[in-house]
């Protein structure tokens, strides 16, 4: 697996997210705790809501458009809603955020 340095963890607000733009669509980088990150597709499967703008709680995010909640570990929608978002490997090393290069170059359609 090859990793791409996309920025410093302090660039992502605690319990917030930032966006990575790729030619295949946007990836959201979520910071759920001081040193805990997740990466997933930015688009909600319901109506395409921007998940990076949602409220981050526990290890989940709530879509800002219609309150679908996704578990960032699995990408599965929670509760009564059905759907999932693609998640990507992301690592933290010495404060730097490393994203799996395949997330940027060869993503399958979510």
């Amino acid at each position: 697996m090859s990793w791409i340095d996309i920025g410093h963890i302090d660039d992502v607000p605690l319990r917030g997210a930032r966006l990575v733009k790729t030619r295949l669509g946007c990836i959201a980088i979520f910071r759920t705790a001081e040193a805990e990150l997740f990466a997933a597709s930015n688009a909600c499967p319901h109506k395409g809501g921007p998940l990076s703008e949602g409220i981050v709680h526990g290890q989940s995010v709530t879509c800002p458009l219609h309150n679908w909640v996704f578990d960032l570990n699995t990408g599965e929608a929670q509760g009564a809603d059905e759907g999932r978002i693609t998640t990507y490997p992301v690592r933290l090393e010495d404060g730097r955020i490393l994203l799996d290069a395949r997330a940027i170059t060869e993503r399958s359609a979510a």
């Binding site: 990575v20 733009k21 946007c26 805990e36 703008e53 526990g58 800002p64 909640v69 570990n73």
Partner: protein, 811 residues
């Protein structure tokens, strides 16, 4: 012939090496021991009890002069080593050379000094060795103020010790919570609370700018501009391996002296142990791995095969009187789940982190009795699937009751105020129940608790249940969300009664079931905290819906709409030109006039927001808060300025009200209007607060709405002067802010408290009216400002992607 061994540094690691060597092979080496401190080895872990006065230096000495003499070790204490000459195999001390066959470096670590002006002033000390400890004891004898920089273990030990010795102590910590490496937020909050109870002031997210003083330290200046008086400044921000000798000697040094599993440096005749080494990327600070290293180093010196391995470690910490435990990995990694247990009554917090049916991390505060059992599970990788339901209760617990949702109320002290309207505390209610008031109506009759606005009804019922047990039948109330069993009203009252001033405080003291709430409760808690503690609590953007975080309205395609404020609906050609220019410059697809008498620019891209705001700001336009659970607009008609029917200056009053109220947060959106005569062209009678001007003064109505429900305002009062009208509007807004449930429009709050209560408190009781208006004004001293200007200035980069790979070459 005996080999010559030179040891540099008499700390806990090298002390253990010497023990092993002299026990197993007392005649193998001629040993010389250098130590920069003028003394031998003592137990550094016990410096805290020395500082606090529980122990003396004599109690913590591990190797005294006699010990070294018996073993024939030549001690050169108080002598610094100047140089290691590896070619000649000689160590150069200040007082002469010592040749070696084998060399052991155990220089430990040095305190990190933050490079701020004033760091070298007398009165600024670090906390590392006995001399530092004695310096603190001497300083404390004079009393006064101490500032400890650094809220990690060492810093807090120093703070606790100095407080114990009678100093007024403030801890300044850069991060958001104490001991952030070992503890999560909730445990950090409890620790802070314990320290504060002992009179220690804690300042988090505080960065030191300089240490001030003439000739000696007198104060610490923070980045915020605040100055903390300080007769003593303790720097305890961290340590780094002491590697200068090794670096000068040309050994491989990364962060520490690099060693192999035999504890040999890049020169096989030079070994190193302790905090100065780096092995396989790891540094070491706890005593257990140091002792492991010491055993391996002794064996290597004696030619015995041995290898050092890094083990999983638990930290059981004791910050004088606070029980903490942390083990494993509780902060990182994917695919993890949390089990959280909180007992507010006992100040207990436990969090287990589980991955693939195995426990991988644990944080505990208050009750750490089960720590070693959890640590065993982590170390052994035990499959915990079977005992998952009862895991958090520890080894002794199998099945049983779930946590008591009433524990928050049970934990309240008797003097905690339950009913704010009538000033009734818990003790009074408990007494009334004991005297025979066994239901809500009886408690109301005998104490007046919950007899006024009624928002504390849920709490009174809980006190009934806690006191009476099963004899009291609890009416079902709707909790805020799945994170808690408490209702909005309960939480609001408890935030006041227990003076909870942070989200972490609410989660812990009220027994939240999730680590940090959810999208339903977090915005509500954030609102309650900022409404109740405008000066102490800092608004949390991450607990706000995107619109309020980005100060624009998100649209269905992810773009935003931007609405500049038009005070009272009045604008001018310059503002209109600026809006038109912005619309063209940022390709705004739709420009629409809103119902609130302003102009909406729809379809602005998220990353363009700071730029369009900067342009609009330049023309004097500020945010219209068209997105907020707060004041939206004050709609007006033209009034006496132009209208032949106008009775008062309705436009002027509208502008005044908008300038007073703008930026304020309320439980739901708040719309106002001022009409110049009863023809009501500003539609004031379907607003949350509507003023209708008449010849004799101002009629103020409240509780209107034109949304999912259409409501006409009810008349609150009529006042003769504009000043009074303004004060009543401020007071009623504040009453709604203080009592309303999050996401209840004003008319819903009005239905709960009743018009009589509002009229009595906001209109008739002049003193209370003024007090409400003053509290509103106090809050507005923080919130009456343009968020756009602030975001343009400080936050613009966060609106752009963190990384953009769309511009890279395609192949």
């Amino acid at each position: 012939m005996k080999q010559k061994l030179v040891v540099i540094g008499a700390g806990m690691a090298s002390g253990r090496v010497l023990e092993h060597l002299t026990e197993t092979a007392p005649d193998a080496f001629d040993i010389t021991l250098f130590n920069a401190e003028p003394r031998g080895n003592y137990n550094r872990i016990m410096l805290s009890p020395v500082l606090s006065g529980e122990k003396t230096y004599e109690d913590i000495v591990t190797h005294d002069g006699g010990w070294y003499a018996q073993r024939g070790i030549a001690c050169r204490f108080g002598e610094h080593v100047v140089k290691i000459d590896r070619e000649m195999k000689v160590v150069e001390g200040e007082n002469g050379h010592v040749p070696y066959d084998k060399l052991l470096i155990a220089t430990g670590s040095a305190p990190f000094i933050i490079p701020v002006p004033g760091k070298d002033l007398p009165g600024v000390i670090t906390y590392r060795d006995l001399d530092d400890t004695n310096a603190m004891i001497d300083a404390a004898a004079k009393g006064g103020n101490a500032v400890v920089i650094g809220g990690g273990l060492l810093g807090l030990e120093a703070a606790a010790g100095l407080a114990e010795r009678g100093m007024t102590v403030t801890v300044v910590h850069l991060m958001g919570h104490l001991m952030e490496r070992q503890l999560d937020e909730a445990a950090g909050y409890l620790l802070r609370k314990d320290l504060e109870l002992r009179g220690i002031t804690v300042r988090t997210q505080a960065s030191t700018k300089a240490i001030l003083g003439e000739g000696r330290a007198e104060a610490v200046l923070l980045e915020s501009g605040e100055t903390l008086p300080a007769d003593l400044v303790v720097m305890a921000v961290g340590i780094r391996p002491e590697t200068r000798l090794a670096t000068d000697a040309g050994l491989d040094v990364a962060r520490g002296i690099e060693v192999n599993a035999q504890m040999q440096s890049s020169d096989p005749d030079v070994l190193a142990v302790g905090e100065c080494v780096e092995f396989d990327g790891h540094l070491f600070g706890l005593v257990a791995p140091l002792y492991d290293q010491a055993k391996v180093a002794a064996n290597t010196l004696l030619g015995q095969p041995d290898a050092f391995v890094v083990k999983e470690l638990a930290t059981k910490l004791k910050v004088t009187g606070c029980d903490l435990f942390s083990a494993g990995d509780f902060a990182e990694g994917e695919g993890r789940e949390d089990i959280v247990f909180r007992d507010p009554a006992r100040g207990v917090y436990k969090r287990l982190v589980i991955e693939d049916d195995r426990l991988i991390g644990a944080v505990m505060y208050g009750d750490t009795a089960d720590g070693s059992w959890f640590f065993g599970l982590i170390k052994d990788g035990t499959d915990i699937d079977e005992m998952r339901d009862t895991l958090i209760f520890g080894p002794a617990y199998q099945g049983g009751d779930t946590a008591d949702p009433l524990s928050a109320v049970a934990a309240l002290p008797p003097e905690a105020e339950i009913c704010g309207c009538n000033g009734v505390c818990k003790g009074t209610i408990v007494e009334a129940i004991a005297a025979g008031a066994t239901d809500l109506a009886a408690v109301r009759a005998s104490t007046k608790a919950s007899a006024s606005c009624g928002t504390c009804t849920g709490l009174v019922e809980q006190v009934l249940q806690v006191t009476l047990g099963d004899e009291f039948q609890m009416p079902a109330a709707q909790p805020i969300c799945g994170c808690t069993d408490l209702t909005h009203e309960d939480v609001r009252r408890l935030i006041k009664a227990q003076e909870l001033k942070s989200q972490a405080a609410v989660w812990q003291e009220l027994g939240w079931k999730t680590p940090n709430g959810c999208h339903v409760c977090r915005p509500a808690i954030n609102y309650y905290l900022l409404a109740d503690w405008p000066l102490e609590y800092q608004d949390d953007p991450q607990s706000r819906f995107v619109n309020e975080r980005k100060h624009a309205n998100i649209q269905k395609d992810g773009t935003f709409s931007v609405v500049p404020r038009m005070w009272g609906g009045i604008t001018n050609p310059a503002e209109l030109r600026a809006i038109a220019d912005a619309a063209e410059k940022y390709d705004v697809p739709t420009v629409k006039v809103t119902g609130g008498q302003r102009i909406d620019l729809l379809g602005v891209k998220g990353e363009d927001l700071p730029a369009i705001w900067a342009d609009l700001n330049r023309a004097g336009l500020v945010s219209g808060h068209a997105y907020s659970k707060g004041l939206r607009t004050v709609k007006t008609c033209v009034g006496t300025d132009h209208c032949r029917f106008g009775t008062q200056d309705s436009t002027g009053l509208g502008i005044k009200l908008e300038k007073i109220l703008w930026g304020s947060w309320t439980p739901h959106k708040l719309k106002l209007a001022v009409s110049g005569c009863p023809r009501n062209c500003a539609e004031a009678t379907c607003k949350d607060i509507g003023v209708v001007c008449v010849d004799s003064g101002y009629q103020i109505g409240i509780g209107g709405a034109a949304g999912m429900d259409v409501k006409e305002t009810e008349l609150l009062c009529q006042v003769p002067t504009e000043d009074e009208a303004i004060e009543v509007v401020m007071a009623v807004t504040q009453a709604y802010r203080e009592g309303g449930k999050y996401l209840d429009r004003l008319y819903k709050w009005l239905a709960k408290v009743g018009m009589d209560w509002v009229r009595a408190n906001v209109v008739d009781d002049l003193e209370n009216r003024r007090a409400l208006a003053e509290r509103f004004e106090l809050s507005q001293s923080i919130y009456r400002k343009d968020p756009w200007a602030e975001h343009v200035r400080d936050k613009a980069p966060s609106y752009a992607p963190i990384a953009d790979f769309t511009l890279e070459a395609a192949e």
